[in-house]
Amino acid sequence: MAATAKNQDQRPRKPKAKSRWGIDGSLLVLLGPALLLVALLFVWPFLYGIGVSLTPAPGREGIFSSYTAFFGDARERASIWNTLRLAVPATLINLLLAVPLAYRMRNPLKGQRLITVLFVVPMTLGVVLIARGMLTFLGPGGWFNKTLMTLGVIGEPLQLLNNYTGVLISLIIAEFPVMFLLLLGYASGIDPNLERAGRMLGAGAWQRFTRIMLPLMMPGIAIAAALGFMVTFAVFPSAVLVGEPAGSTRVIALAAWQAAYERFDYSMGSAIAIVMAVIELLVVAVILFARSRLYTGPASGGKG
């Protein structure tokens, strides 16, 4: 049935014409501009990018030549591994830190609000500023190394910059607050009565965590892992500023940027960007599929 069909005579109570689909003029006015903008500036560029990546650059032949050139070059191919080597540990470390912390803070502690505000600050400032600050703070003469040396923990300064460790640290600082706040939202939404019931039935603290809260937090943990991976997999500025961009931290985002903006090979640049999106969406899809097999029923009770 056409969306513009007028059924006013058949349904006299309804003031405006509506098609069977529930779509009418006012809905298009409300929602149309937003959908149009996303279609024009997101969907179309993506399709355009696929088109560009399938148009061989001068010197290459065949519609998949940009892809085969990327996977055929050992240095380019290594960028995938360089990125996974950062993104997977960073996500896991952040989860290992954030899950117990969110669990422990599920019932408001003293200073809860202040702590959450303090976590929002580094998250908002972004990775460029954090990387810039790390150059001063974590450098060989910076406060961090100075403090550890004064305390006698280390004999000589730790090399925390311009290598793999520097990028990993920057990713933990920038992403840990996001994952923690996300998990805190989940953990504090779980009905505390479920845990009390476990306690009454004789479960110890560890048992209550592993058998009650952890399974109930799993859907939230899956979402946090997916978001954390998504952001860390796209690491770019800190891989250049505090990493070793010519070597071990030449990540895939940097490879895509260099192809498009240093060699002006837009075909290759778009191809790498699409490879990147596919890998990222595959990992996220696997995580979300695993999540769909978990219990996701009500656990919030009256606490909302």
Binding site: W21, G22, I23, L27, L30, L31, P33, A34, L35, L37, L41, F42, P45, F46, Y48, G49, V52, L97, P100, L109, R113, I115, T116, V117, L118, V120, V121, T124, G126, V128, L129, I130, R132, G133, M134, L135, T136, F137, L138, G141, I173, V178, L181, G185, R196, L227, M230, A234, F236, L241, A253, A256, W257, A260, G269, S270, I274, M276, A277, E280
Partner: protein, 276 residues
């Protein structure tokens, strides 16, 4: 009846929580404070504190990095992106909150998708396309690119907020003869002001802090602060470190002022629950 949660003395795990939080905050605080201190240092060689203090790096940075222009561009881009994404995003959020129609989940999915892929993946094809249409390198191109994540964010913040507003208020307004647009402007918008302020301030901050899309689409005269900061830090051998840190401090201030305003209206936990 009150159930006592735990005995009087804080347990070991409570101390572990505080210790982890304290370590994290010490490191982040150290990073931010060393930037702040260095920006005022006449020189700082190896000591705990700078050798002397001066404000001249701010003057130097203002000239060297064309800071005034960059600041105007940053605020203009963030303000325009905020205004457009609110103007388009609030009605869309209203439609998703109140209406039921076929394809609603498809529309919602389309609106969430830009937040599900990292900016750099769609930024490269988007920038390539903007170059094709000669929009890249201009402020207009930077605004278009920044709208892509900003609009979905506004929709996702506004939808649950509008869902909380009692629909009977709207019915009452309609019964008294208000047209849709009048009901929207006179009844719904005033009720939604806290949500609009929160969404607006957060989008403003996120646009100032979003690096990748501006980095990919900006030209020399359409850079925002975070991109200028990246370029300055990238070629840090060329200029004194203190002048780069002076720019970093200015970036921190422009980001943190709207953030602190936003925190009056939103719980930090809700800042990540949706949208990121």
């Amino acid at each position: 009846m009150t159930v006592k949660q735990r005995s009087g003395a804080p347990s070991l795990s409570t101390w572990l929580v505080y210790a982890t939080v304290a370590f994290f905050i010490l490191v982040v605080g150290g990073i931010l404070f060393s930037v702040l201190l260095n920006s005022f240092a006449s020189s700082w060689f190896g000591g705990w504190l700078p050798d002397g203090y001066t404000g001249e790096w701010y003057v130097f940075a203002a000239e060297e990095f064309n800071l005034w222009n960059v600041l105007v561009v940053t605020l203009a881009v963030a303000a325009i992106v905020t205004a457009i994404s609110l103007a388009i995003g609030i009605p869309a959020g209203y439609a998703l909150a109140r209406r039921n129609f076929r394809g609603k989940s498809l529309a919602l999915g389309l609106l969430i998708l830009p937040l599900m892929v990292p900016p750099i993946t769609y930024g490269i094809p988007l920038a390539t396309m903007l170059y094709e249409y000669r929009l890249a390198g201009t402020i207009f191109g930077v605004i278009l690119a920044n709208l892509v994540p900003a609009l979905p964010f506004v929709v996702l913040v506004m939808t649950p907020f509008i869902e909380q507003i009692d629909p009977n208020v709207e019915r009452a307004a309609r019964m008294m003869g208000a047209s849709t647009s009048r009901m929207f402007v006179r009844v719904l918008l005033p009720l939604a002001i806290p949500g609009i302020l929160a969404a607006g301030l957060l989008v403003f901050v996120r646009t100032i802090a979003l690096f990748e899309l501006t980095f990919l689409t900006a030209g020399a005269n359409s850079q925002t602060l975070v991109v200028s900061l990246y370029y300055a830090a990238f070629s840090s051998g060329i200029r004194p470190a203190q002048s780069i840190d002076a720019m970093a401090v200015i970036y921190m201030v422009t980001t943190l002022v709207p953030l602190l305003l936003a925190l009056r209206y939103v719980n930090p936990v809700n800042m990540v629950a949706r949208g990121r």
